[in-house]
């Protein structure tokens, strides 16, 4: 139970702050005495948080499926020839700045949520793919050799040995990807997606530091919550599959 203590605490703080931001008005008033409105009120923070999270979760789910499937494919005998190609494609996805992906995606997909989801998927692929490859390649060849030699089918070797053994490394890749994308998703506000980036953009346009701060604090807190959630997940995975190392 102690495993889930810190993610729960951070989650409570995140939701609490999203609902009760107006309570902090005196603080922001003191920071920004020259503005009439110091708490962002165009949308509720809770709605923005929810939307932000949905964007990240949808793109992470699609990205994880693509990257894990790609990583598995590239480490099978039939796909081994594609290993360098798969690596390159993922690296290109990473070198594209998200803003450039948006600029290219908007003409094709229009304004709103769709282009940012595409950008997030592309951007999040590499860490997951790289870790999937590292996790699968890191398994002792003797283990898979013995498993096949004892009569396991390729699918059984994958499900019973490779994925449980590589799982923790793959989870770490998803963790990096999701954490990066929580920050990147905020850019979506520039093309009409409703995210926690809205108050930041509005604050920058109006010279209102309080707005910027409110958006930034919530984005940061969301990233922290997610990160500690994954930390707990990785620990739980380790306990399940490699109990002798669990601490």
């Amino acid at each position: 139970m102690r495993l889930w203590f810190s993610p729960l605490l951070l989650l409570t703080l995140l939701i609490g702050l999203s609902t009760a931001m107006p309570v902090l008005e005196p603080l922001f008033q003191w920071l920004q005495p020259d503005k009439q409105s110091v708490v962002y009120e165009r949308e509720s923070f809770l709605f923005l948080l929810q939307n932000h999270l949905t964007l990240v979760l949808v793109s992470a789910a699609v990205g994880t499926m693509l990257a894990v499937a790609g990583g598995i494919f590239a480490t099978r005998p039939a796909g081994r020839d594609f290993l360098p190609l798969v690596n390159q494609v993922a690296s290109i996805g990473q070198t594209f700045p998200p803003v450039a992906v948006l600029a290219l995606a908007v003409p094709a997909l229009g304004f709103g949520e769709a282009p940012i989801i595409v950008a997030l998927i592309l951007y999040g692929l590499l860490p997951i793919l790289r870790n999937t490859l590292a996790g699968l390649e890191g398994i002792s060849p003797a283990v898979t050799e013995a498993a096949r030699g004892m009569g396991m089918s390729p699918l059984q070797v994958l499900v019973r040995a490779e994925l449980p053994l590589a799982g923790r490394v793959i989870l770490a890749g998803i963790r990096t990807s999701v954490t990066i994308n929580i920050a990147t998703a905020a850019i979506g506000s520039t093309i009409g997606a409703r995210t926690l980036g809205d108050p930041v953009i509005a604050g920058l346009v109006n010279g209102n530091t309080a707005y910027v701060l409110q958006g930034a604090i919530l984005i940061g807190l969301l990233a922290l919550t997610t990160d500690s959630l994954f930390e707990a997940l990785e620990r739980a995975w380790e306990r399940r599959f490699t109990p002798q190392f669990a601490n």
Binding site: V143, A146, G149, M150, M152, Q156, A161, L165, Q244
Partner: protein, 315 residues
């Protein structure tokens, strides 16, 4: 029975195994011996189809393996490798239960079998069943590897340098253990090693391989007495042959029986009937004695073996 007929394996242009013919009878231990790169592991891995053969035919109990489902074929062949390949995320018991689980045995039958095998391999089920492979010593891990291979009682046992990474004492113990188990279970065994002493100790017949070919296939004694080529002669150690032959013969064969001799005096060194003649000679050399008493399993003297007899007929 396993038969290889004209089997060839090429990797690109390189020929790893070159038109070999080999017949391994049911219940015998065939040891493939040779230096690294001679094709012995390749040969072994073709038998369970981890590698496809390029040419020729491999028959198991008369049936061509090319037509069989590879998984079905392997489920009936225990496989032991040097690195053990135990699943690090499974307990010892679950590792041993791997093949019975794949064959969907009922749980009670699996549990009983795991316990039986752990006892057979001299691993205490109570202390070791719940451990993970990383918590075992090298020798214990390989015992688990052998137990896993025997779990579903396959007809055939394939062993690829299983004791190669172990220290000399542990290796010796496991070799004796394997001989003991083999006496009970009589598996058709193909055993790959580069260690000629291991081959001489374990084999019913040895196949010496060099550059992808089998240069001699014969009993250990014949390999020592009549090496087919200079290569085999060097492999068995030309001048060391006398002692090696002696280590193949049990004391029983050269002793003079003595009836009702009771137990030898305590403090007098004795040898067992099944110990090697080489050991008996060693005891005599060490003690500067001209003979040594021979005892049976119960410690009762059954005979005596003399130095002169060994020097005359030992090899």
């Amino acid at each position: 029975m396993i038969e290889l007929k004209n089997v060839t394996r090429r990797f690109g242009k390189a020929v790893a195994v070159d038109h070999i013919n080999l017949r391994i009878e049911t219940g015998e231990v065939c040891v493939l011996v040779g230096s690294s790169g001679c094709g012995k592991s390749t040969t072994l891995r073709m038998i369970n189809r981890l590698l496809p053969h390029t040419e020729g035919e491999i028959l198991v109990d008369g049936e061509d393996i090319t037509g069989m489902n590879p998984e079905q074929l392997r489920l009936n062949m225990g496989y032991v490798i040097q690195g053990t390949g135990l699943f690090p995320h499974w307990t010892v018991a679950r590792n041993i239960a791997m093949v019975p689980e794949l064959l969907k045995w009922p749980k009670e039958r699996i549990d009983a079998r795991v316990e039986e095998l752990m006892t057979l391999l001299d691993l205490d089920p109570a202390t070791h069943a719940g451990k993970y492979p990383q918590q075992l010593s090298g020798g214990q891990a390989q015992r688990v590897g052998v137990a896993r291979a025997l779990a579903a009682d396959p007809n055939i046992l394939l062993m690829d340098e299983p004791f190669g990474a172990l220290d000399a004492i542990t290796r010796d113990n496991l070799q004796m253990e394997l001989l003991r188990i083999q006496k009970q279970v009589r598996k058709t065994t193909v055993f790959v090693t580069h260690d000629i002493d291991e081959a001489l100790k374990l084999a019913t017949r040895i196949a010496v391989m060099d550059q992808g070919r089998i240069v001699q296939h014969d009993t250990p004694e014949n390999i020592l007495r009549n090496p087919a080529s200079e290569f085999v002669e060097n492999l068995v150690g030309k001048q060391d042959r006398g002692l090696k032959l002696m280590s193949l013969r049990p004391v029983r064969q050269l002793m003079t029986a003595v009836s009702d001799a009771g137990r030898p005096d305590p403090g007098v060194e004795s040898v067992g009937e099944d110990d090697s003649v080489r050991l008996a000679l060693s005891v005599m050399v060490w003690q500067s004695a001209s003979s040594v008493p021979v005892v049976n399993g119960k410690g009762e003297q059954t005979g005596v073996i003399s130095r002169d007899r060994i020097l005359q007929d030992g090899a």
